[in-house]
Symmetry: D2
Subunit: 277 residues, 4 copies
């Protein structure tokens, strides 16, 4: 018995230079396409007659990118999804995942240069478009947005069992590499400005929160977004706890006044939740 089949193409990288009168605009996307449909005989009988090659999916990304400037990852994903759904009767639903690498303009003599860019990061803008014959779902997001606060973060009065050794702390570093994904009420919203509003709300609420835990701050950030950004219905946040451990300097006869930390990659706490209206 065959279930949960899917196939597609991942890591299709397209860079589009749009040549305006006075400047170039740069769009840098990595696209993944995923087909879900009635392709069982390709598995069970090696019958490829209804199988669109993943190489053609890749070609489609480049051909559609050439048609017109890319307004947003969401709009481009939607165009791709519709293209595939219209032409492939066996396709039941298609998902397009997009990540956009941001580039800033190099400043020369205090002015933005017209065709020279510097990579921004590590954060990436993301979008996901899922289409079936009845329904369109558009999600937007950000990933690898690394944020840290060195005050207003505690973790104390937690559950203790006989293996608990962590001391209470009222003042720690809180750092995370945020991945957030949100769903717009209406796919036709002005996605660029909304995206920037969500990002800014996430940053501000993180900065301002009196944190009792990662969970506590995650919820405050999600709440701020659904309260402040009208177009957002629900937001899912994933927040790995990038632990910064205070160094025990007493071994050297020194005091650590919460100033010296070792940054660690593993192990790490991992907290997630969805906040909806």
């Amino acid at each position: 018995m065959l279930t949960k089949t899917a196939y597609g193409k991942s890591r299709v990288r397209v860079v589009r230079v749009t040549r305006r009168a006075d400047r170039h605009d740069l769009t840098d996307l990595t696209v993944a396409i995923r087909f879900h449909g009635d392709y069982d005989t390709s598995y069970t009988a090696g019958d490829n007659r209804e199988v669109l090659p993943t190489d053609t999916m890749k070609n489609t990304v480049y051909a559609l990118a050439a048609r017109q400037p890319i307004e947003s990852p969401e709009a481009f994903g939607l165009m791709l999804a519709q293209h595939f759904l219209e032409r492939n009767p066996r396709l039941q639903h298609v998902r397009i995942d997009l990540t956009e690498q941001g580039w800033g303009r190099i400043a020369v003599g205090g002015h933005d240069h017209g065709h020279a860019f510097v990579k921004q990061g590590p954060e990436l803008r993301t979008a996901a478009v899922t289409l079936d014959r009845a329904r369109t779902v558009i999600e937007a997001g950000v990933t690898d947005l690394v944020i840290l606060k060195s005050a207003d973060s505690a973790f104390s009065k937690f559950l203790r069992d006989d293996l608990t050794t962590l001391p209470d702390t009222e003042d720690r570093i809180l750092a995370t590499s945020l991945t957030a994904t949100w769903r717009y009420r209406d796919g036709r919203t002005s996605v660029g400005s909304t995206w920037r509003a969500v990002r800014q709300t996430l940053l501000e609420s993180f900065a301002e929160h009196k944190s009792a835990s990662v969970q506590h701050t995650l919820y405050a950030m999600g709440q701020a977004v659904v309260e402040c950004v009208d177009d957002v219905d629900a937001i899912h946040l994933v927040m790995p706890n990038k632990h910064h451990l205070p160094v025990d300097l007493s071994r050297f006869g020194l005091e650590n006044r919460n100033e010296i930390f070792v940054a660690t990659d593993e192990p790490f706490g991992l907290i997630e939740a969805t906040v909806a209206r």
Copy 2:
């Protein structure tokens, strides 16, 4: 409104040396723990009173590893899951993911050395144990098992649209980095020998198959496992197509008799399915 909450600890690395009379045994695991339960007030009110710290989860891995030799990732995961479920009334279900790094013994003078090891790879053995108050699900798997066949692989007679440029081929390299996850009928099966039987069946069926596509070979491999290994109920296979493209040597006045390929990492096809009895 708060939904889909989860929290836990990832990348807990434990190496256990079990000291036998004549030799040491080495177990090298990386563990992730994930709690799903009624922890909403930790998000909404910063109330940590029922929150077991992720640091304690980490401690628990080390404390339980010290109790007795680790028989298998599945057995160790089950022990951890039961430990957490018994002691945390708010916990509804818990998932433990384990990856085991294999080490072989260094051969000295043709004999396996008792306490010197060499890392095997890149493949990793995996296990996942999910427990709630009623049910236990044990999955086993392998990841990053990179396999390649240089004959008996075709891809032809596929669907063509106006953007299709891929030529038919009756003889190509087929390569993938296999991730497979399977479910045992009975959690109490002899998991070590079964794991090896599944792995060997995957390798043999890959080698022997006359492939019409990645989909076709994926299904043949899954079928071979459910047919040949009694204890396995269903298996999920994920097979990225690690493309090896024939180099056009005609530009240099040379012929490529299907001998010279460029290995590429991106873009890549991605095929997956579950095969069940």
Copy 3:
């Protein structure tokens, strides 16, 4: 015979929070220490009596970071190098490599927040301090500064042999992930402002250059630095050519007016040189 011995500690990560009246300052460094000296008997005879443990090198990073705010990676590296050289008579020369992860302040209501930060990147500031009993060498640098220009870049009229297939181009994307390392005339220069001046000069000269090749632009950038920044004696630049290949859209009946590119990671050209006064 034993030659070219060295030992040390790498990837020592230290984050320092300096608590000012109105704000926190954050310094995020990764440090590597390397001892070169007369330690031969530790290799040949297992005699550790003169071997300072690499664990102590790590401790020293934390202890010295606690003494006072870190003014610059260069100053901190120099302090570490002097500390080790003074206390270890067997040590002939010591090298300290430092990379600094930049963090920007989160803006809240248009104002920089006092203790909330967002990671900048992907670029990293680097420094290297090498000390022996007679001499101090201080190098500064930047790595992973990814820059791209979509005009004023050609590559043509190059040498052709019978295996050359690359067409001449007068208009291509030029992109690189710059690593630059420079030497100051005087270790006591105001390193923060000089570092920023070098970085800005690199960016501006890259943006403004009419490029005939990566080599050509590399030299222009190096020349600009030694001409414009007085304190810099010599600069070494490493510029991998991050190829952006125009997509052949003619296969789809479309024209590529130099707008649609595929970004590739491998293979890549690699160009380097030192430009000195």
Copy 4:
């Protein structure tokens, strides 16, 4: 002033399938080419007339791989180096770096399959060929050979200063990811069998050594190679100390009889030396 110029192509990946009567042989190489010569005007004046494009270097790898089966990375590197040196009068010396990914045959019914392979790893075989108008240097090596011993490893009686906190240990885990590079006396040696002999000598001497430190074992391994493998003149070993730290179980009322360790990636000790006859 322009110094230390170099240019070339990196990450050229070539897979060669050699079709024998009864089986296929698979060679999987990644090649880097580096030209050093009189190319200054390409930097200073943008004059490309003597610049062989790095794209042509890439083509050359594929064209030469097509000529005949690849006997060894050393032989293929030498062929490439000679090709470039002969045809490029401005070239003073050229360096070819090669890494070979090993593939084993899949066993089916106890017999090696003729055209199905499984990736071996994580170790890679390496070679470097450097040629100038007068001289040929051939180096061979291995990288990412990860080895661990759980007995016969101590680190004690080392130098202590006021920041030393590491306790003496007579029984620890010693683990490293070995990179070794060696030079043959004679470039025309039977490189395949010699390579295997060096690798086996490294493994055996690591396993058998009573280690007082990483330095001590590194030297023993290097000595064993120059003593046991006639063709090797000198060997350079780089051994990062992949620390496995015993977990303090006393906090849980348990004893750690040197059985439970946490594997860490950073910070790490780094030891290297050359051992010559």
